[in-house]
Amino acid sequence: MRLIPALLGATAALALASGVSAQETRGDSGHLNILYWQAVSILNPYLSGGTKDVEASSLVLEPLARYDQDANLVPWLAAEIPSVENGGVAEDYTSITWKLRDDIVWSDGTPLTAKDVVFTWEYCTADGTGCAQEGKFEGITAVEALDEHTVRITFAQPTYFPWVAFVGAQSPILQKAQFQNCVGAAAATCTEANTRPIGTGPFVVTEFLANDVVSFAANENYRDPNKPHFATVTFKGGGDAAAAARAVLETGEFDYAWNLQLAPDVLQSMQAAGQGQVVSAFGTLVERIEVNLTDPSPSLPEGERSTLAHPHPFLTIPEVREAMSLAIDRQTLVDVGYGEAGRPTCNLVPAPEYYASDDSECATTFDLERAKALLEQAGFTDTDGDGVRENADGVRLSVLFQTSTNAVRQDFQALIKSWWEEIGFEVELRNIDAAVYFGGDAGSPDTIEKFYADVEMYANNFEGTDPTSYLAAYTCDKIPSPETQWQGQNINRVCDPAYEEMLAQFQATGDQEERSRLARAMNEYLTLDNHIVIALVDRGRVSGHANSLGGVVLNTWDSELWNIADWYRIAQ
């Protein structure tokens, strides 16, 4: 029985007649077609914040530990999860010691060692790398190799959630031999390494066409000799959510499609075709409107737009932002865009329970009158009768509202525009191709990081259960600017010592009560109190897979492809 599937590699569907053999040998399930409608542009998560890039690279690159679908930490390249009990985490929480599995080899046959882990930290924290995941290494003073398979991470101060660096798909281990000449400013120029990284994961890259297709083949040196079940993977990018959903649910051309952000009625009618099924799970994904605290005006010289040098003329006024938030009927947005797969929220951190603030009042309040009153209070009245408010200095409440091209987002834009116009804003809409918008290309004016607009909408989440690196994004040093090649996660350009003070306390506290309190305080600083981030909908993640694809466990806490080695073709 073991021989047959091996012989028939590519025509595995036939060989799997018994169904039991799904657990048999490497490559026995043949070929897998994955469709991510945002095309992959790079396979190095340290140089791209885009989910599509992070998830595609998770086929190749792996972290020390991952979260499973229930948000539990599971060891991946590490032998076990360090804890105070097993001595892996220091009593005073100032260091964490990871023990690597000793049977892991890179796809080129060389062994994975602690040096690779150390190098990965050096790589991301080097000056000029423009590392997209710097938040993961926040507060780390040293990463040292104690021996071949032991790594110690030392923190500047007690860190009570130390399982952040090298955990999850955003923070995998890079091979030192491959990347050692790519540190610092050279990072972006190492095309070969960035597009064909050598990894420890179940697959290796065989062909990389930027923004189009990535082909993978099973990694011959993968640690489990019977996995992955698929011999080859085609990772196709491009198109839109509707086409992707149709390709999986209606026509069956693809086996897996990610992020099917489509109106609930549309998905339902597609699923009726019987080729595939929709899977969804709630995590920490929040559709939100980010407010630009700096001035994106095109009249400013290039290099100064959307930088701290020019504060925004009216979005820096708290009342204006609060009015904008009050004038959004979140329940209607959920009904139009997500149905069962969404719920109204005002929180940036909607889960887990012990970190989530009580946002029920904000999430259900839709009060245009109060919004108008707030604008009056802030000195904005419509003096010239054109329906747009302006203040004594002649600043008009005119906003450019950008988002990616997506039917649901355009519906949201239309709804929000109509509400904002009702309270006296002038709203211009812009939609940008998702591959460009989330592409992070420093040369493009349309990326979320560059933020050449007043407000922008997208969804983001944090991996795992701990929001530390997520909340750590809102510090002055993570503001995207020309100096950082427009990389950085502080999209709103928040720069407030009071916030950083809270963050420092949060990172320095082991007491769960206190951590919860501080996490809520930071969340409330950004959302409920100041409305710098106007959260809209807590989104369940929605993906689709063919009925013939088995082993899919939708994981909202890590890469969706986290267990791709276990995926198999169900015998028909």
Binding site: S269, A407, L415, D433, P445
Partner: protein, 333 residues
């Protein structure tokens, strides 16, 4: 224009020159109304007549529509979303319809009829303007290349170069370069309008230029041009008086074709999600927005699709009819 018609030498393009012979049956009508002939010939082309009728209808529909149907195309009415067109009642008594939305409403309750009207205004405006730009450039390049030998090589190679430019990448680049300055100067809608019209105009004049050049080359060797030249007519008088009126018919025909293709290009751009902002309906954008729900609400693709196809078809028929009508050799028969 009257110069052209009263020109005694007026020969058909490509026909043998009969410079001094007047055309016996047409001469009386031509004296009273030079376009009478053209109209009489045009009338005999049934398709062209129907096309003209439809084009007038669509243009009036879009121009006067907002007064007859004063519903804002952007007005959201979430309670009345996903309504079917009223004619659904004919075969489905349980369909959700409302006379306040005769053609139904979309998933946000925007009125489809109002959107069709607003979309048509934009699509037609883009079509006409882009066509005019293309005709202007095309005629200018064509006449210059045909008339001045020393310009011929440069201009025609330039034409080849532009022909080879792919319009979509070009538009993306232009969007990137000019969007913000245009937006700052003219506002979002007008800025994008100018950009799109310019791009379409600037990439669709080449056929016209080639046709016009060919005709001008042939005309240049005619006796009446020779005669005009022999009495010392300079180029600046020659071109408007003798050359242009005689290439008018191919220009008008390619203008109708250009209008059709400009509408199609704009629709394609909108369909691809480029072009106008999402709250700015055009026929192409209506199509694009409706594709997700095509199976459940076919009317949302049907109406804008029909509007595009019928307009383009009618314009093509008009072009066909005009070609016949403007050709004096056919006209006589």
């Amino acid at each position: 224009m009257t110069d052209a018609a009263s020109e005694p030498t007026r020969p058909g393009p490509g026909g043998t020159a009969r410079p001094l012979r007047p055309e016996p049956p047409a001469v009386r009508d031509a004296a009273t109304n030079p376009w009478g002939d053209v109209w009489r010939q045009f009338r005999t082309h049934k398709g062209a007549l129907l096309g003209l009728g439809f084009l007038v209808f669509v243009t009036l529909f879009c121009l006067l529509g907002p007064w007859l149907w004063p519903v804002s195309p952007g007005a959201l009415d979430v309670r009345n979303k996903d309504l079917r067109p009223v004619y659904h009642l004919l075969w489905d008594g349980s369909a959700r319809v409302s006379w306040s939305h005769p053609l139904g409403s979309d998933q946000l309750g925007r009125d489809l009829l109002a959107q069709l009207i607003a979309g048509g205004r934009v699509s037609l405006a883009v079509g006409w303007t882009a066509m005019l730009i293309a005709m202007l450039i095309g005629t200018l390049v064509g006449v210059l290349a045909g008339y001045f030998r020393w310009l011929d090589g440069i201009l025609m190679r330039f034409t080849d170069l532009v022909l080879a430019l792919p319009i979509l990448p070009l538009l993306l680049v232009m969007m990137l370069l000019f969007r913000d300055p245009l937006r700052a100067t003219f506002g979002p809608a007008t800025g994008i309008f100018i950009l799109i019209v310019t791009v379409i105009g600037a990439t669709s004049w080449m056929q016209t230029a080639r046709i016009v050049r060919g005709d001008v080359l042939a005309l240049k060797e005619r006796e009446f041009v020779l005669a005009a030249r022999s009495i010392g007519t300079p180029a600046r008088r020659m071109i408007p008086r003798h050359i242009l009126p005689n290439v008018l018919s191919p220009i008008m025909v390619s203008a109708t074709l250009g209008l059709a293709s400009a509408i199609i290009t704009e629709s394609a751009l909108s369909f691809l999600g480029l072009g106008f902002p999402s709250d700015f309906p055009t026929w192409g954008k209506l199509l694009f927005d409706s594709t997700d729900r095509m199976a459940d609400f076919p009317e949302r693709v049907l109406w804008p699709g029909l509007a595009i196809s019928l307009t383009v078809l009618s314009v093509n028929y008009i072009g066909d009819g005009l070609r016949d009508a403007l050709d004096p050799r056919i006209r006589g028969r």
